[in-house]
């Protein structure tokens, strides 16, 4: 029964969804943190490299983002122990591009115009083709 579950489409979809959601949360939190912090070049010019590093690592959103990325990494390892690399890697990488674009528009209020949507779809299909 467990073996059947491991190889079922639902189980694979759930594992891939976990990777994609955690990676998207991580990317959005880190991007949001960097937007909140501001231009790192300016901070480096004012308070030096150590000041810039301190500003980044003490940011709560950055910490949450890195934690979500770590969850995504371990979800990937878990998925690879149950499903084929040829399925998990391209599916998670391609879907993450699309969900990141959607999250960028919804949560980060980025100006995602037709050009960026087209680019996201090209990257999505391109990554899937490269991983074949």
């Amino acid at each position: 029964m467990i073996a059947q579950l491991h190889h079922s489409g639902f189980a694979n979809a759930a594992m891939i969804a976990s990777i994609v959601i955690a990676a998207t949360v991580g990317d959005v939190m880190i991007a949001s943190a960097m937007r909140q912090i501001g231009d790192l070049d300016d901070i480096k010019a004012e308070s030096g490299l150590m000041g810039a590093i301190k500003t980044v690592v003490t940011n709560t959103r950055f910490f949450c983002g890195v934690t979500a990325m770590a969850v995504s990494f371990f979800a990937l390892l878990f998925a690879l122990s149950h499903a084929d690399l040829s399925l998990v890697a391209p599916a998670s990488a391609s879907l993450t591009v699309v969900t990141n674009t959607l999250a960028g528009k919804v949560f980060l209020k980025e100006n995602v115009d037709k050009r960026r949507w087209l680019a996201a779809l090209c990257v999505c299909v391109g990554v899937a083709l490269l991983a074949r």
Partner: protein, 137 residues
Amino acid sequence: MTFRRYLVLAFVSISAPLGDTFLDVGMKRIGPVSLAHITTLFHAVMTPWIASGIVLLIGFFASYLTALSWADLTFVLPATSFGNVIVALLARFWRHEQISVSRWIGIFLITAAVGFVMRGPSYTEHEKPTPHTAEVC
């Protein structure tokens, strides 16, 4: 976008696949690591290939964060995906692996995506809250 910022994006694209490749070469030279000899991994970090790979991956993360501090996530994403193209090209011209037609199409699509995005604005300006609205919040 200044020339320096394009250089940062180029480093984002190149450093991750190059770092992964260095780790791959380093670990292939060391060979399989068993649980009984797990400390081999600590010694592996000191080998030139692995150490260089780690430095490159730290450089990738630093440049990725720098890029996100002045560019949108949806602008930086294609640049990070361009790393897949570099891996495929390294496989073709350094390791002399064969690349199928579907992979060449994938390379073309990702390159086109980077071209699309680079022609547009890199950052979405948001209105800063006025003192009045800040007080209300």
